[in-house]
Each structure stands twice: as C-alpha cells, then as structure tokens.
C-alpha cells in the first residue's frame, strides 16, 4: 500500500544487489534508526531503557550470532550462553589487566577470544551432525560453565566469585559501572549492535553467506563445487561466537554490571535459541523479532496484572510466564514454522501488491 515501486528500476548490479533495494524500505529503516538514536534517549524513561531496550538489544545481538551458526549454516548449538560467558570473562580479565585501554576495545577483543573458543568447540562439527552436534555443544556449555564457577583466576580470586564491573570512561563520559547513566550505556550498546547487525547482513548477502547456506542446504553438493566444509563450518563458529561473545561482554559491562557463572547457564542458551526459532532461522531481522517476543513478552506479562489492578505474587507470575512462554513457542511453531521473519515477509509482499491479492 505504501510501496511505489514503479520507476525504481536498477541500472547497475550494485543497485540491484543492494540489501534494501526498495526506496520505501530504506525510508522505513531510517525512521527506525531515528527513533532508536534520538526519540528513545530523549523521551525514554529508566524502565524503558534499562529494563527493556538495553537487554533487548544485547540479546538480539546474541541471537544474530547464533542465527549465523544455526540459521545460516545449519549447525544447531546449545552452548550460546557459555560463549557469552567467555566474552564476559575475557573482557573482565583484559579490562582488569589493562585498565587504561578503552573498554570498547576490550569488548571487541573479547569477541575474538570467544571466537577462538568457539572454533575449538566447533572442530567436532566436521564429523558430527544434527542432534549429535547439538549435544556436543552442550559439552561446551557445561565445561565452560564449570570453568567460570571453579577457576578463581577468572574472577581474579575475589571471594564473591562474581565479576564486578568497575567504572570506565569513554571520551571522559562514564560508560560502564554504577556511575554510567542508562542513556549513555544505551547509546553505546545501540551503536555496537547497529554496526554489527549491518556487518552481519553484509556477510550473509555475500560470498560467505552463500557458502554457509550451501553447507546448510546440501553439504555434499557444496563440497563438490569446491567449498571446504571444515573451513566453512569453523568460520561460522568463529563469527557466530564473536557476535555472541561481544553480546556477553556487553551484557555484563553495559547491562548487569556484575555477574556470576549462573548468569551464563544453559537457560540463557535456550532463551537465545528460542529467539531465533521464533524470530526466524536464517534472518537477521528475525533475531530482533525473536528477542522482542522472548525478552519483552515476559516483562509485559509481569507488568500486565499490575496494570489491570490484579495483585498476584511474583512466584505465581513467574510460573504463569513459564507456561505462557511454552504455549507461545508451540503456537508460533504451528502458526509459522519459519518464524516471524517469514510472517513479516508475507505481510510486506501483501503491501507491495496492494490492492491485489497477488
């Protein structure tokens, strides 16, 4: 309905291969960015920014990372939480070793650390497929979780056994720790997430993305046209873990402020997995949709009774949230196994051909 594609013809391949070839889509994106970068910081309250947006963005990033591995390359992983942990602990160690270095640098570097670990645990993926691989990734999950809990070196031998985030400044503006204002942290997170989402979509639209999808759809054929499976899969593990790691680092440094091993347990892994399944496997935007449902929905559910004036004790609400989440997952899977991203696609298509049905 809003699309006016007549006259939007492509005279170069560059234009034809653009990620947003339709002008109206570009406008839409611009609008969203405008809201995210200007409107929300300007008008958003503590609750919106701290409880909703920051976690939403961080989890979305993790979901993007997992989607690169599971959605695009077809390698099912249940170890996301642990890899986020790797990012977080790496960042903590690096930051405490070299406090003078800019924290953002360390957040990115910790992504590389997590990438290395990811490659290590990705090695079996050459021989192991499907659910077997999924379980193999559980090995990573539990082993790493154990490391976080049992290796005091990781927490600099502090007795709390947790990592606490000191205040760090960026251009004289404090971005981490208790002194940092939510808005600053939000903007930092937003910038990183936006940039990395952009990069991710670049990658999946290019040679590497095709390579991954080829491995996913028909690994034999992929190998016979010259794709080295191990390389492709390890690269997927590396890039994926990088994203997840950065998300983990941000989770502790820009959101929670402190974390124990518990924070990175298997439930976190599952949460991220739900996000990409519900959001849509093999779709960047899907990661954001998924994060919306899985993260924001429970918040909404908790807020709901209060709004309608009911007073239910927290435990009840938690239990209800569990049940509803479970039901929703099933309902979504039945309604659209390809996730919200596909629904989005169909809706968009309908608008493009409006008022015609096809």
């Amino acid at each position: 309905m809003f699309y006016r594609e007549a006259g939007q013809y492509k005279t170069t391949y560059a234009a034809d291969m653009a990620i947003f070839p339709i002008r109206q889509d570009r406008y839409g994106l611009a609008l969203i960015l405008l809201i995210a970068f200007v409107a929300i910081p300007a008008f958003g309250n503590q609750f919106l920014i701290n409880t909703m947006m920051i976690p939403f963005l961080i989890l979305s990033l993790a979901a993007i990372g997992l989607n690169l591995l599971t959605g695009y390359t077809g390698l099912l992983s249940l170890g996301t939480g642990a890899f986020m942990g790797v990012g977080a602990y790496a960042c903590y160690k690096l930051e405490t070793f070299f406090p003078q270095v800019n924290i953002l640098v360390w957040i990115v570097v910790s992504g590389f650390v997590s990438a290395l670990v990811g490659v290590a645990f990705g090695l079996p993926s050459l021989r192991i497929k499907g659910f077997y691989l999924a379980v193999a990734t559980l090995a990573a999950q539990f082993f790493l979780e154990w490391c976080f809990a049992r290796v005091p070196w990781l927490v600099n031998y502090n007795d709390s056994g947790a990592i606490e985030v000191p205040s760090e400044t960026l251009f004289g503006l404090s971005v981490t720790g208790p002194t940092a204002t939510p808005v600053t942290r939000y903007l930092v997170v937003l910038t990183i997430v936006a940039a990395m989402a952009w990069i991710a979509s670049n990658i999946v639209h290019g040679r590497i993305g095709r390579m991954w999808m080829a491995v996913r759809d028909m690994d034999i054929a992929a190998e016979l046209i010259g794709i080295r499976l191990l390389r492709a899969k390890l690269l997927a593990f590396a890039v994926s873990s990088f994203y997840v790691g950065v998300a983990g680092a941000m989770m502790v440094f820009l959101w929670l402020g402190a974390a124990e091993a518990e924070a990175f347990n298997i439930d976190l892994s599952f949460q991220i997995l739900f996000m990409i399944i519900i959001g849509g496997l093999g779709s960047i935007v899907g990661a954001f949709f998924g994060a919306t449902i899985i993260h924001l929905l429970p918040i909404a559910l908790r807020a709901l009774p209060a709004m309608v004036g009911l007073s239910i004790d927290a435990a009840r609400i938690d239990q209800l949230t569990f049940m509803i989440t479970g039901i929703l997952i099933i309902v979504f899977l039945i309604a659209e196994p390809h996730g919200l991203a596909r629904l989005w696609q169909t809706a968009k298509q309908k608008l493009r051909v409006w008022p015609f049905p096809y």
């Binding site: 099912l76 079996p124 021989r127 192991i128 497929k129 499907g130 659910f131 077997y132 379980v135 193999a136 559980l138 090995a139 539990f142 082993f143 979780e145 154990w146 809990a149 049992r150 290796v151 034999i220 054929a221 298997i266 599952f270 997995l273 739900f274 399944i277 496997l281 435990a315 009840r316 938690d318 239990q319 209800l320 949230t321 569990f322 049940m323 509803i324 989440t325 479970g326 039901i327 929703l328 997952i329 099933i330 899977l333 039945i334 196994p337």
Partner: protein, 318 residues
C-alpha cells in the same frame, strides 16, 4: 611432572590400594548409570517412533515425580496417587499428540525439537503452579520401596549397597526387559519398530500413526515416572533435577539415538565413568567435574563413531 603423576599414577595406585572404595564408586556409578539409561530410554522410544528429539523427557520425569508427591501431599493415598499420576501421564501423552505433534506433522526435525522445548517450559510452569516450587521428598515408604542398606564383604573391605539403589537397578532391568519383550512380541511393539523405519509400514500393521504416538509418549511417560521416583528418592523432588536429566543426552549420543541397548550401555559407561572421574581425578581440578565429564566422554566417543555406539552407519549417497 607431579601433575602427570597425579593424573596417570596416583589414581590407579589408589584404586589398587583400596578395592572396596573402587567397588563402592563403581556401584554408585552403576546405579546412576542405570537411571541415566532409563531417562535415555524415554528419549530413544520417542525418537524411534516419531523422530522427535524429545528434550522434555527430563522434565517429564520431574513432572511425574512432582505430581506423585504433590498428590500425596494433598492427602491422596500413595497407590491412588500412583495410579492418578499414570493417568496424568496418559493425558499428557494424548494432549501432546493432539496439540503439538499432529499440527506439526511433516515439519523439519528442528521444529519438533523446538516444540519439545515449549512443552518443557509449559510443564515447569504447570508443575510449580499446581504443586509449588519448593523441593519435596519422595514418598518411598508409602510406595513400599526398601530403605536402609546391606553391607557386602569383599577382599579389602566392604561395599555398602543402598536397598533403594538395588531396587532401582532391579526395576530398571525389569522395565528394559519388559520393553524389549513389548517390542519383540506384541503387535503394537512391532508396529512401533516399523514406524521407526517407515511410516507406511506402520499403517499396514493397522495402527494409526496418531495412536502409536500416544502409546509411545505414554510409555515414555511411565518410564519417566519410574525414573522420577528413584531420582526423587535419592535427592529431593524439584526442577533442579532437570540438570540431572540433561545427563541423559550424552548417554543418548553415546548409545546412538535409536538404540535401546545403546541407551543401557551408554548409561552405564557414563554413570560409572563420571563417578570414577569425579572421585579419582575430580580433586585435581577442584571438583564438580561431574557436570561436564559425561559430555566430554561422549564427545570423545563421537569423534570415533559419529553415529554413536549402536547407531547404524550412514553411507552417504548422491
């Protein structure tokens, strides 16, 4: 040097030094393994018959146990509670078949796998909602499960066997045997096996796929209940148990997703392996290695047999 020694010499010296301890550890592991095997059995049943990788199996165990105890708490006599629980498990099987499996038929495996996550969350919520989240203790006496222990004298000392554990092992073995018979002898059993290879074949046996799924999920539910009772008896009944349940996964891949004997053997290997590991090597690493040792063992196996111990070898054709 000391490290190498600590890893490769001391533990074995210890074992030889005190065989009773070794035997005790192995027994502990054996019992744990049997219970792992039971959970894995539930997985295998369902995976064989409906190709669903049922992540909810562990939760079904906890849920069953919780229902049993919960009902009893509410003043229902134990054996009635037991029957009711079985009924609940049946209802659950039917519900799952109707509301989850049927609408999702012909969807890719990953989707069904995810659906079982949904079931997991649902059951956790439901269980806690109805029976409360606080840990409960299993009603062993009421179920006439033996308490206490017997001492077994062996050269170099004695091994203490909990009667409960013996019972667990016994029940486990009975169930496995029963299932084996069920698969071999009964029409339904044969149908189930048929389904595993080819759905048409199953239909030719004259049982609808839907019925089969109900049966399978119900059977898995009963197995889960049994497992739940014993795990519950050994520790408390609470959703913390699901982590234990996850241990069934390495057992599973070790044994091969589709093999019943694989589940048993895998269970024992994992059970005994992790106990020995924890007891003799754990201290070196500051303990708690149980949580991942199982997976590492499984992983090690997988690298050599990607299809598990008893899984069929896949010849790739194009």
């Amino acid at each position: 040097m000391d490290l190498l020694r600590a890893i490769f010499i001391d533990p074995f010296a210890q074992m030889i030094g005190s065989p009773d301890l070794l035997a005790q550890t192995i027994w502990e592991g054996f019992v744990g393994g049997v219970l792992y095997a039971l959970i894995a059995l539930g997985f295998v049943l369902i995976f064989k018959a409906s190709g669903v990788f049922n992540f909810a199996q562990g939760i079904m165990m906890v849920f069953a146990a919780l229902t049993l105890v919960g009902l009893h708490e509410k003043g229902v006599p134990a054996w009635v509670a037991l029957i009711l629980t079985i009924a609940v498990m049946y209802a659950l099987a039917v519900g799952i078949e109707r509301l989850v499996l049927r609408p999702l038929v012909n969807q890719p495996d990953i989707i069904l796998f995810m659906a079982t996550f949904g079931i997991t969350y649902f059951l956790i919520g439901l269980g806690e909602l109805v029976f409360g989240g606080n840990p409960k203790s299993m009603i062993t006496k009421e179920l006439f499960l033996p308490g206490g222990s017997i001492d077994l004298h062996i050269p170099g000392g004695r091994v203490q066997l909990q009667k409960l554990d013996i019972a667990a092992a016994a029940v486990a073995l009975i169930m496995v045997a029963g299932l084996a018979l069920f698969f071999q002898k009964t029409r339904i059993g044969r149908a189930l096996r048929a389904v595993a290879d080819d759905h048409q074949a199953a239909l030719s046996v004259g049982i609808s796929l839907n019925q089969i799924w109900v049966i399978v999920w119900f059977t898995a539910g009963v197995v889960a209940l049994a497992t739940g009772i014993f795990w519950g008896a050994r520790s408390d009944v609470s959703f913390a148990l699901q982590v234990v349940a996850l241990k069934a996964l390495p057992v599973l891949i070790l044994g091969g997703l589709t093999s019943v004997p694989g589940a048993i053997v895998g269970g024992l290997i994992i059970g005994i392996g992790e106990k020995l590991g924890e007891f003799y090597w754990g201290p070196l690493l500051g303990g708690g290695i149980e949580s991942w040792l199982a997976y590492i063992i499984a992983l090690a196996f997988l690298l050599f047999r990607p299809q598990g111990l008893f899984g069929e070898k896949i010849i790739e054709r194009i």
